[in-house]
Point group: C2
Chain length 693, copies 2
């Protein structure tokens, strides 16, 4: 199949993006890293983060090699005829490895810059908010640009090499494998450290946040980097590529006529346009500068959205000149689908923000519930978290319905592409958060004084809002993406109906609905188990060496880092196996239609659990912060104590289980598609139990 020249829009945008990432990196590195103590603390964080990533990549490397070999021997479909089965498909296996490497590289670069930007941002805060903001924002932008650049270059080059969506599927599966490790592992790491540090340091010894005497304080800061920068980056890398591949597969399966090659690469082209919009947006924010970090980040998001809508319209107008009238209409319809998707993503992001902001009703109610004690604050946060599922669900349903009206399931897939088009901006905003969080910690540990800490706090607060929005956005985007993947799976497997009246389909859906619940529970338990070890280690250090508490001797940070690292990697095993074994098992036992229903069930229930856990956690966190700001009596009151309980419960909800569900869903959907040819050969896709059901 011929590859339209327009694919170079994406390739060139990707290359510019990578160049900009290195330019921003250089700019950040040139900044003043601050005083000796700050450099020391930042050094600890950096070495902790690098140690974790290295160990993680080592384990991941083994995983990737095993899967790559398995893919080699798995029956697959050959490039130019999607329905013909091929064995020894080394191209897909190769694309898989490239996908994994690209995601690993982006995560590595983003995190390397993140751990350099934190101390530099803290130092810049001594000059002013604007200066501090700029350093942190550039630091975050590196991650955003690296993710999108690596993804687009990878996808374009592979497609230019062999124009088959199934090669891109391999690339996407590789990125997903990384995301599974980075998101779940990072999520477990960060909350092991955070919960451990809070339970002993804050609750038992009344140490303030980020106090250097707390042995887990460095691990906590490391966690922000590995969980929120590398983890979230790889999560969105994963969704981004998956949304592209789902749309490509659907285009290849559905669209007929001479314009097919153009439609297949339409998602790649529009993502290229989205990247350009993100780039311009980032520059405008930089050029405007801002004393109000929160406003600047939101302006950036809105700008990128508007720029995307404009530039994509121009692009579509160009594309539409060379095609038939009906194809031109179809291009415009899909353009609209992407805009609807993007708008929906923004709306979901902002409802997440509404439900987690302390000046809005839900979180305010939760904060007031803290006055009634621990149990009431938990009940309140639990309930509002569940209720917060309704608005984004309505948003997704409307976006889905409109996109479907515009161009059927391909329209839905394009809505997912649109939602992720400005992902560069989204990841940049998100990575800004942990840099500020770390900067605040370093300012505290480096004795930069109350004023600087206040500036860092202001930046941090904007980062938290950005994080809430990003999380909602990431969940919405992943949801729509896996939906598109489910459609593409069904299309390719030749499934004509997924009939809930069929008992095997119903059983598939049942298992699908249950899976995210179990997965969440396993991750929360993992955090609880590791945090318990961390708690015992911190207590041991305080008891065995009382000089740590007086500040005369330094705490042993490395032991805590070691506990978090080992625990996170060990606890990854079960979720990783589950995410591949369960869809495979459903497919083998109940057949491909049941597997599609399984995916649908998992998508719907995963959406509920992901939004609930993220928003409940965010609410509890902000309710606690609001009380700490002096409301309801402030720190040390009974209400504050209850709010801390809420926050501690919310930590693994919002930073481990909730966001990991996205990754789980993508991995499961891709697993289904990758194994499809195997299932179809195996027994015609009917399932071993088919004769009885």
């Amino acid at each position: 199949m011929e590859v339209p020249i327009y694919i170079f829009v994406a390739l060139i945008a990707g290359l510019i993006s990578i160049l900009m990432a290195y330019y921003f990196k250089k700019k950040v590195m040139k900044e003043d890293p601050g005083n000796e103590r700050m450099v020391e603390v930042a050094g600890y964080i950096e070495s902790g983060a690098i140690t974790f990533i290295q160990r993680q990549y080592k384990t991941l490397g083994i995983f990737v090699i095993v899967i790559a070999i398995a893919l080699l021997f798995l029956p697959s479909t050959i490039p130019d005829d999607l329905r013909t089965v091929k064995f020894l498909n080394w191209e897909q296996s190769f694309a898989y490895v490239i996908g994994a490497l690209a995601s690993m590289w982006a995560g590595w670069l983003g995190m390397k810059v993140g751990v350099k930007a934190n101390t530099r941002a803290a130092q810049a805060c001594t000059i002013g908010t604007k200066e501090g903001f700029n350093v942190a924002f550039f630091g975050g932008a590196v991650m955003g640009l690296a993710v999108v650049g690596a993804a687009l270059i990878g996808v374009s080059l592979l497609y230019i090499w062999i124009p088959s969506p199934f090669l891109i599927l391999g690339f996407s599966f590789g990125a997903s494998s990384v995301a599974l490790f980075a998101k779940c592992g990072g999520g477990i790491y960060t909350k092991t450290a955070d919960v451990g540090a809070d339970l002993v340091g804050k609750a038992e010894y009344s140490l303030p946040e980020d106090d250097p005497r707390n042995p887990a304080s460095i691990a906590d800061n490391v966690g922000d980097n590995v969980g929120d920068i590398a983890g979230m980056g790889s999560d969105l890398f994963d969704s981004y590529v998956a949304s592209i591949v789902a749309a490509m597969i659907l285009a290849a399966a559905i669209i007929v006529g001479p314009e097919l090659p153009l439609f297949i690469i339409l998602p790649i082209i529009l993502c290229g346009v989205g990247l350009i919009a993100s780039l311009i947006g980032i520059f405008i924010i930089k050029w405007m500068g801002s004393d109000e970090p929160g406003k600047a980040l939101n302006t950036g998001t809105y700008l990128a959205t508007l720029l995307y809508a404009t530039l994509a319209a121009i692009m579509i107008a160009v594309l539409a000149t060379g095609v038939s009238a009906s194809a031109a209409v179809r291009l415009w319809r899909n353009y609209l689908a992407t805009v609807i998707g993007l708008a929906c993503g923004i709306v979901i992001g902002f409802t997440s923000d509404y439900y987690t902001r302390e000046d809005k009703k839900p979180t305010s109610k939760i904060a007031h519930a803290a006055e009634e004690g621990d149990a009431v604050v938990i009940l309140s946060g639990f309930s509002y978290g569940l209720i917060s599922v309704a608005p984004p669900a309505v948003g997704i349903v409307i976006a889905m319905a409109i996109a479907y009206m515009l161009d059927g399931v391909f329209g839905v897939a394009m809505a997912a592409v649109g939602m992720l088009a400005i992902v560069g901006t989204i990841v940049a905003n998100d990575a800004y958060g942990p840099i500020c969080d770390n900067a605040r910690g370093i300012a505290e540990q480096g004795d930069l004084g109350e004023d600087v800490i206040r500036v860092a706090d202001k930046m941090d607060s904007a980062g938290n809002t950005a994080k809430a929005i990003t999380k909602g956005f990431a969940i919405g985007a992943a949801n729509l993406t896996v939906l598109a993947l489910m459609y593409s799976f069904a299309q390719e497997a030749g499934i004509e109906v997924i009939d809930l009246l069929s008992i095997s389909v119903l059983i598939g859906a049942f298992i699908g609905v249950v899976a995210p619940a179990i997965f969440s529970a396993i991750l929360v338990l993992a955090v609880q188990r590791n945090a318990g070890k961390m708690v015992r280690e911190i207590r041991r250090q305080f008891e065995e060496n009382p000089k740590i508490l007086t500040g005369e001797e330094p705490a042993d940070f490395n032991r805590c880092i070691d506990i978090a690292t080992k625990g996170a990697l060990r606890e990854l095993i079960i979720p990783s196996i589950m995410s591949i074994a369960i869809p495979l098992g459903v497919g083998i036992l109940f057949g491909v239609a049941a597997l599609a229903a399984f995916l649908a069930g998992a998508i719907l229930s995963g959406f509920v659990f992901a939004i609930f856990m993220s928003n409940a956690g965010g609410s509890w966190d902000n309710a606690k912060k609001w009380i700490e700001d002096g409301n309801l009596g402030g720190k040390g009151t009974k209400a504050h104590k209850a709010a801390i309980t809420g926050d501690t419960v919310g930590d693994p909800f919002k930073d481990t289980a909730g966001p990991s569900i996205n990754t789980l869903l993508v991995v499961m959907s891709l697993t289904a598609t990758i194994f499809m040819a195997f299932l179809l050969i195996f027994n015609g896709g009917a399932g071993l139990l088919a004769p009885f059901l």
Copy 2:
């Protein structure tokens, strides 16, 4: 259509059951009600319970009249031709009212006896465990027998009058309306009182459980009766009738041939057999007597199961003599389906028991987590609660699959019937619980001494286990029942496929999956809001009149009862409207296929939430009790405080939201079926948005 004579098996069993209920009532009333103080306390509980039920029935009365009139003007299907539409269907409207009245009567009788049995059981405990057990067990049996008797008599008489399953549908809808009020309202009432009493009395003033100085103590005892006796009774009444009607509708739609009349009443006949099995089981337990209440209750359940399997086999052998060979095989296949269903119910019940027992791993882990503080005990209970969904889900899936293999969707419906066949025993065991709980309170308030309280505690503990089993059982039964209802809805609406690849179907399923989450949240918030009012009232009483705390003056129980009563009835409004409006809205906007998918989504997600909330709550409760028994340092320790937080969070989970989901599911499924003719006339069942999707 002719009505086979065998229906009289059910009618006669029902009549015997009612007679036995009155006989047991008389036996209970003859017992010694104890000393003056006990009679006084029991009097308070009785008058509180009766006040609540009266007010509830008044509101319910208005609701029932409105719905009855609406049903009158709703297009419906005429008795002898299920597909022809009829207007002014006064028969169905009449059956609806009868269904509501039958359920109200059973609840009323059961509760009246319950509030008499409590003080008598307490007094009998002064003689011995066996004597105490007998009184409490007979008291509970009245509820069990009244529920099953009223249901079977109502169903049989209506069917003898006009042999149409759609008349029974009206009866079932009536019972569901009552269940919605009794279960949600009772659930809110009981936990408003319980949480309020615990938060102030136990936590702030360190009063023991059931202390007469606590102004909410009577309301707490009243709550056990209205929530756990009347509420659970009406819940199982509801599922029981719904399982019968689902199987009847499916039989009428699927089965052809001269044996159709027999198959239509097969569920009624087998329920009659099940009732006889329950009756014999109850007598054997009484005859055996027991110093070990827990063992006696479990023996009763096993006995009833075995008796059902035996007696139903004999019944089937009799029925099979007069029919064709193929019909005989079909009878036996459906007999097996009922046995599989019943076995599955027992398994689900016992897994609930496993996950909530303090001597098993999950609850023991939760109890140990309490040592790490409030947040960790919450995280632990939350996670194990979610994990506990897996085994019953596997159980249901296996039962569903086997039943389907035996006789398709009719087999699945018959499995639900089988699961509920021994519901008399189940309700009896369940109602035993609150009687013992009350008896313990009365023994405490009537100063019967430590030894008697210990006996009452032993009985209470058996009651808690029975309650855990019943809850799992009720959820499993309701789940299979609504599944059968979904099939019968699809069958009657002429839906051939419920295709998840259709966007409107997917949207229906999406809304369905979200609904139980929102519903749970609304109920938990209702409890939290009311408990807050209760807390303020108790504090006010203690502050304004210090003599209450010294025991010199009695607390004002009535104010607390009033708060619980009014709050419960007010908070009912939104869930009631939701349960009718949402399915209706989905049907009108997206069509009947989407409505069926909505039901499927709600069933699957409802199962997850119901099991999770019931088991998490039960676990927290028992972890707390285990610590209170002196483990991990016992009462007053930090671990105990944390365990109380867990228990308080778990209270509305396990006694309000979790079990109410069953009722919600049944009401929504029946609403769909009742409005089906309307939706089909309205626009052919396609949905208003169909032209666009």
